[in-house]
Symmetry: C2
Subunit: 319 residues, 2 copies
Amino acid sequence: MISNTLRRAFTTTTSSAKVGFIGLGNMGGHMANNLLAAGKEVVLYDIFADPVDRLVSAHPNAASAAATPKELASSCDTIITMLPSNPHVKSTYMDGETGLLAGVNAGTLFIDSSTIDPAVSREVAAACEAVSTSFVDAPVSGGVGGAEAGTLTFMVGGADADFAKADDVLSIMGGNIVHCGGVGTGEVAKLCNNLVLGISMAGVCEAMKLGENLGIDTKVLAGIMNTSTARCWSSDTYNPCPGVMDGVPSSNGYQGGFGSALMQKDLGLALDASRANGVPAPMGATAFQLYSMMMAHGAGGKDFSALFEFLEGTHTKNL
Amino acid sequence: MISNTLRRAFTTTTSSAKVGFIGLGNMGGHMANNLLAAGKEVVLYDIFADPVDRLVSAHPNAASAAATPKELASSCDTIITMLPSNPHVKSTYMDGETGLLAGVNAGTLFIDSSTIDPAVSREVAAACEAVSTSFVDAPVSGGVGGAEAGTLTFMVGGADADFAKADDVLSIMGGNIVHCGGVGTGEVAKLCNNLVLGISMAGVCEAMKLGENLGIDTKVLAGIMNTSTARCWSSDTYNPCPGVMDGVPSSNGYQGGFGSALMQKDLGLALDASRANGVPAPMGATAFQLYSMMMAHGAGGKDFSALFEFLEGTHTKNL
């Protein structure tokens, strides 16, 4: 009987340096496409066949499909996952029948770009380490536009050597690769960033709405805030008040951008972490409830800056 | 009998272009001193004798004291007020026995730099107009340091001609004089700015505290937030987490800066306006309660960024 270790070592030797990519949604589809366009051989998996078929058709010589994560793992030495949330990541890696770790070769590097609970990242990383593979969490910012353009920011948590190794593929998909610390710290950075973002956007919505009702010109108000202590990305780059800036969702009926439901999800993850660690987060909790209220009113698909119109009651539902 | 109008016209002609200054606290004392240092003749009033005496001693040829606001008004054609809040402004202007409007000359320009409810500014402005004087609201940002250095930002609400006339004294006390619109809009700008500031600071405190507990290096976290969508003055210029930045209150035991009680006052004014105008402000309400909690725990005199240590329960009381 060949030991697992020996079998893995053998398989590693014969694998052909392919990249695996699991999760071909709005973000992952563009990311995988950029890898293929850069000349990588990529093995694809998604629970839906369509996005896999599209990429295989577009790149017939470099893209191939796998039937399960387990099958994908057997032929790849770098595997990227881009999944909706905690349970999808856990089952994709750890399902005993079809999961990645059931078929992986020793020495494989996993890169999880999903936005999830850092505690789950650490749990999955431990499972990866137990079968002689390594794991980094590498959630992104930059949205669908950044995914398509290959300019994402990756916030990476993991060992130095794994961070260095991951750069080969991350630098194809992103413009800014930041090493945040050990496993999980990429997720921590992402959740903390979006915690502030969701809070500050909600604050700017309240202030712009109040100012408008109190009779100040909203462009004048934004100009003052942007050169004073209220200065923030939500005001100076993504102002939620229609007419203040061009080229942002507030000037386009709040279409596109980053959906309220996605912000609500990220705030929920931050609050899970705050609860698990005993850190009070009343501002995050209030912001979470506001974006939840937008979802309940049918505006979860609109950009999160649509909280501005939701505060005044003029919001419209998703199409 | 000489009509009021004639008497005012006569008095105006004989007044000697003095500047009146009422409210010589932490801010007003420095502001009046800068006017005197620039060669203005200034008539002073405060409910406390000490700050008046100090300025008169320092500038014996240019500073003089008045016994009441009414007396001060009779000898000045430009009058600046810098008072704690709504009731002080109303009584200083409108008290029938001793108030400014009881003794004012026609044509006088009032400049109120107090941070108050814009509705009160508009009420006082109407009373000023009724006795042939004019009024601008001109609240400031820049703190005690800016007041001392003469680099304050003035947010001015009032008619164009009054704004132009106010520049003569405002430009001595400030580095940035912004015309926000009609009467009250200076206060609107100030309250909206501080609404966002109080909210974003509380958000940054929650995120930095959560990140620290989750094991990311706080300087790395701040660096990521400051180059991403969490970027804001509260993070990149005034970070509340000790050790992240030098020269800010968080690196000096949260001494100096802008007290939690002052932020709570400004948020309360914003919430008063939101209530009066039917604008929901749940984020502002939550932030107000957090700074109120700090006050209840004896930390109202500490810089408002001390919410960081208050969240972790390591705060200390004021001295």
